[in-house]
Amino acid sequence: MNKSTTAAVPALRLTGISKTFGSVEALKNVSCEIAKGEVIGLIGENGAGKSTLLKILTGIYQPDQGTIEINGAKTKFRGPRDSVLAGIGVVHQEQSLFTNLTVAENISMNSATGRRFGTTFGIYRWGKLYKSAAETLEIIGSNLGPRTRVGDLSFVDRQMVEIARAIRVDTVKGASPIVILDEPTALLERGETEILEREIRKLKDLGSVIFVSHRLDEIMRNCDRILVMRNGELVADRPTSQVTEAELFKLMVGHESRATNHQRGKVNPDVVPVLEVNNLRRKGKYSDISFAAHAGRVTAIVGTSGSGREELSRAIFGAEKFDGGTIALNGKKVSGWRTPKAVRNGVAYVPAERKVEGMVGTFSAAENIVLTHPGSAAFGPIIMPWKRNQVARKWFAELDVRPNDIDQDLERFSGGNQQKVVMARWLNDPKLQLLVLDHPLRGLDPGAAETVNEHIKGACTNGAAVILLADTLEEALEMGDDIVVMRDGNITARFDVSVDDPSTLDLLERMV
C-alpha cells in the first residue's frame, strides 16, 4: 500500500456540514477528517447531534450545507444506497437483521451489487451466496455458519453478522470500508464486549471505524482520536493520548462529574427485609435462588446473559412465572403474583427494553407518568387532567427532562429523557418499597445516567430497596451495597460491598 497517498487523502472528509430541522439547528458547521486505518470515537450527550451526523453519513438525511468527500472525491448521498456504495456500513445499536433469514442472506441483503454475492437478476444462487458469505465472515475472523438462521444466534454473534454486512462493500470495488459502530456495546455483557473490541482492532486493517459509545472507558481503550459533540457542534477533536476521561465528561456535559460516592447503609438484622426470595426456581432458567433485599440498600445482581438474572428480576415483578419457591414482601409470602398485584404492593420495574415494555410511546409524557400511579392526579377512578399536568410538571422539573413539554408523545423524547420519565412514573408511588431495575442506564449519556443514578439513590434514602441489573461490573460496584453473582441459573457468590470490597475480577471469576 502506498503510505503517502493514504496519509494525504483521508478516507472521509466532512466540511462545514449543517442541518436544520424546523428551527432547530441539529448540526452547526461540522468539519472533520478520518484517515484509513483510523478508529475514531464519537461521543456526546443524547441530542448532541451524533445521530443526525450518522444519518447524514448513511444517506438518510441530506445536509443543508457542507460537503462529503470519500477518498478525496466529493460525493452526494441521495439515499442510503449511495452511502452503501461509497463503502459506509453501519452496525446499529438495536440490530436491524432479519431474524427469520440465514446469516448468508442477511449479509448479502445489504450489498448494492448482487451478482458477485450470489444473486443473478435478483434470483438467488444459494451455493454462491453461502460461499461468498463464508468468505466475508472469514475476513472478520468469525466462524459462524452462513446457513444458520440469525434468530438462533446470540446477541454478539448477530453483531458479527452486522459487521460482516457492513464491511461487505470492501469486496465490491476495493473501496476501503468505513464502518460505523453505533453504540455496539450498549447491549453486550462483559465477555462479549471483549470479542467486539478485538473485532474493532481487526477492522483497522480493513478500513476506518467510527465508534459511537456512551462508555468513556471503552472509547479511551479503542480509539485513536476522539470527537466530542455538544449542541450540534464539534467541540473537541483530540488524540486519545492527550485527553482524560474526566476531561471528556466535562466536554460532553458542560460540567464536572459530581461525586458519586454514596453512604452505604448498614443492614439492621432486626428489620424484616423488603424482599425475601427463597429457593425460587424456574426450569431451564434458574434454581434454588435465595437472597434478600433490604430497605435503603441497592442489591446488584451480576451475571452474563445466560445467568438467569433477567428472568429472576421479572419473576420478582410478577411478569414471568416461576415453578417453585417463594417470594415474600416485608415477611409476607405473595401468591397469585402478577404485575398489577406487584404494582399495588409498591414494587416497581424498569425493563431493559424501554421502548417496548417500559412505556407507552404514543402516550404523552404526562399520561405515562400517571398511568401506573396517578397519585394526586386521580380522585378514585377519575383522572383530572389539570392535576395530572401538575404532577408531570413537578417531575419534569425534578429530573430536568428536556424538552420541557409534558404533552409531547414520550417516544419523541431522546432515550435519556424517556428513561427519566419512566423513573418518574415509579417514583410517583408514595408506597414504593422495591425498585427492580433492569439495565436502567442502557443507552443513556453520562449526564442523564447521573440524574437517574441520583434518583435511584434518592429512592433508597426514602426507604426503598433496589435490585439492580447493571450494564457493567463497575456500575454494579459503584451503586451496589450488596452484590449477588449468578452463573447458569445459580447464585455463585454474595458480597457486602462495604465489608468485602470485591474487585471486578472477583465478580468476573464467579460469573464465567
Binding site: 449542541n231 402516550f363 412514573r425
Partner: protein, 339 residues
C-alpha cells in the same frame, strides 16, 4: 462566560422547537377533533343542495338519525374494542340475539325484559373478552367463531322465524316514536352512550388503561395495568351496546328475526367507528366523533337514493365515498402500520 451563552442558545432553540411542535400538533389535533363533524356537515350540505326537499322540515336528518341509531350504538362498542387493539365481529349477531330475546320476553316480563336482555347480552360480550384475554385467541378469529355461535343461538331461540312482540310493546316503542326536535330517542340514546364512553376514555383510569393496551400492550402490562380485566370490560361494553341496539330494533319494528333488521350491521358499525377517526391498530378513538361517523355511514345510502342514483351504482358510490372519507379521518401517525 461562553457556557452561559450556549445555555441560553439551547434554551431558546428548545423553546422554538417546542413552539413549532405545538403548532403542528395543534393543527393535527384540531382536525382529529372536528374532522368527522366537518365531513358530515359538508356531505349533508351537498345532498341538501342537490335535493332541496331533503332538508324540508328536518325530515332528511330525521331519517338519517333513525337509520344511524343502531349503527351508532354498535360503532361505539366497536370503537372501545378497537381501542384496545382487538375487534368484535360478533356484535351484530349479539344484537339480533338481544332483539329476539326481547321480543320473546316482553310479553311475560314486561318492563323487566329489557333489563334481562341487557344483562344477558352484556354477559355474552364479557365471555368474548374472557376467551380473548385468558386463552389468548386472536380476537379476529375468536369473535368470528362466536359470530357463528350467536347466529345459531338466534336461529334456535327464534325457531328460525320472525318473532313478534305479543304484549307490552309499549315498554320500548316510545324510544323510537318519541322525538326531540326531529331526532328519535334511539339516536339520542346513542349520543348519550357515546359521550359517556368518551368521558370514560378521557377521564378515568379504566379508560386510560384501555387506551394504553391498544397503544402498546406489553408496555401496559409492565406498567401494572390490569390488561385482562380491562379487555373483558371492553368486550362486555361492546355486548352492552349490542343489547341497546337490539332494544332499538324492537322499538322500531316490534319484531325480530335471525336474518332481519340488525343482522347486517357489523360492517356499517366498523365503518362508522373508522370514519369517526378510530384507528384499526388500536389506541386511538374518540366516541363523540363516532356519532358523526355513524351519521355519515347512514347518510350515504339514503342520499344516493334521494339523489336518484341508479340502484346498481349506489354501492359503487358508497364504496368510493367511504374510501375518501376514511382516508381523511383515519388516525395514523407516520410510524404506525395501518392494517
Amino acid at each position: 462566560m461562553t457556557t452561559t451563552i450556549t445555555k441560553t442558545d439551547t434554551a431558546s432553540i428548545a423553546q422554538k422547537a417546542t413552539a413549532d411542535g405545538l403548532r403542528s400538533r395543534r393543527a393535527a389535533k384540531l382536525w382529529g377533533a372536528i374532522g368527522p363533524l366537518v365531513i358530515f356537515i359538508v356531505m349533508f350540505a351537498i345532498v341538501a343542495i342537490l335535493v332541496p326537499t331533503f332538508i324540508g322540515g328536518g325530515t332528511g336528518l330525521s331519517i338519517v338519525a333513525s337509520s344511524a341509531a343502531p349503527i351508532l350504538l354498535l360503532a361505539v362498542g366497536q370503537a372501545l374494542v378497537l381501542n384496545i387493539g382487538s375487534i368484535d365481529l360478533s356484535n351484530s349477531a349479539l344484537t339480533v340475539v338481544g332483539a329476539i330475546l326481547l321480543a320473546i320476553t316482553l310479553g311475560p316480563l314486561g318492563a323487566v325484559a329489557p333489563v334481562v336482555v341487557v344483562l344477558v347480552v352484556s354477559l355474552f360480550g364479557a365471555v368474548n373478552g374472557l376467551l380473548v384475554s385468558f386463552f389468548q385467541v386472536p380476537s379476529f378469529a375468536l369473535t368470528l367463531g362466536t359470530l357463528g355461535i350467536f347466529q345459531a343461538t338466534a336461529l334456535v331461540i327464534s325457531n328460525a322465524t320472525t318473532v313478534y312482540v305479543s304484549q307490552n310493546g309499549g315498554v320500548v316503542s316510545p324510544l323510537y316514536t318519541t322525538r326531540i326536535g326531529t331526532l328519535p330517542l334511539t339516536f339520542l340514546l346513542g349520543v348519550v352512550v357515546a359521550v359517556l364512553a368518551w368521558l370514560m376514555l378521557r377521564f378515568t383510569r379504566v379508560g386510560q388503561g384501555m387506551t394504553a393496551i391498544g397503544k402498546n400492550e406489553s408496555g401496559a402490562i409492565f406498567s401494572g395495568v390490569r390488561t385482562r380485566a380491562l379487555k373483558v370490560t371492553a368486550y362486555a361494553l361492546s355486548g352492552f351496546m349490542s343489547s341497546l341496539a337490539g332494544i332499538t330494533i324492537i322499538a322500531q319494528a316490534g319484531s325480530a328475526s335471525p336474518m332481519g333488521l340488525g343482522s347486517d350491521l357489523l360492517l356499517p358499525g366498523i365503518t362508522a367507528a373508522i370514519v369517526g377517526g378510530t384507528s384499526i391498530s388500536g389506541g386511538v378513538t374518540n366516541p363523540v366523533n363516532v356519532i358523526f361517523g355513524a351519521l355519515t355511514v347512514a347518510l350515504v345510502p339514503i342520499a344516493t337514493a334521494a339523489i336518484g342514483i341508479e340502484a346498481q351504482a349506489q354501492s359503487l358510490v358508497y364504496g368510493v365515498v367511504i374510501i375518501v372519507v376514511v382516508s381523511l379521518t383515519l388516525s395514523r401517525n407516520k410510524n404506525s402500520i395501518v392494517k
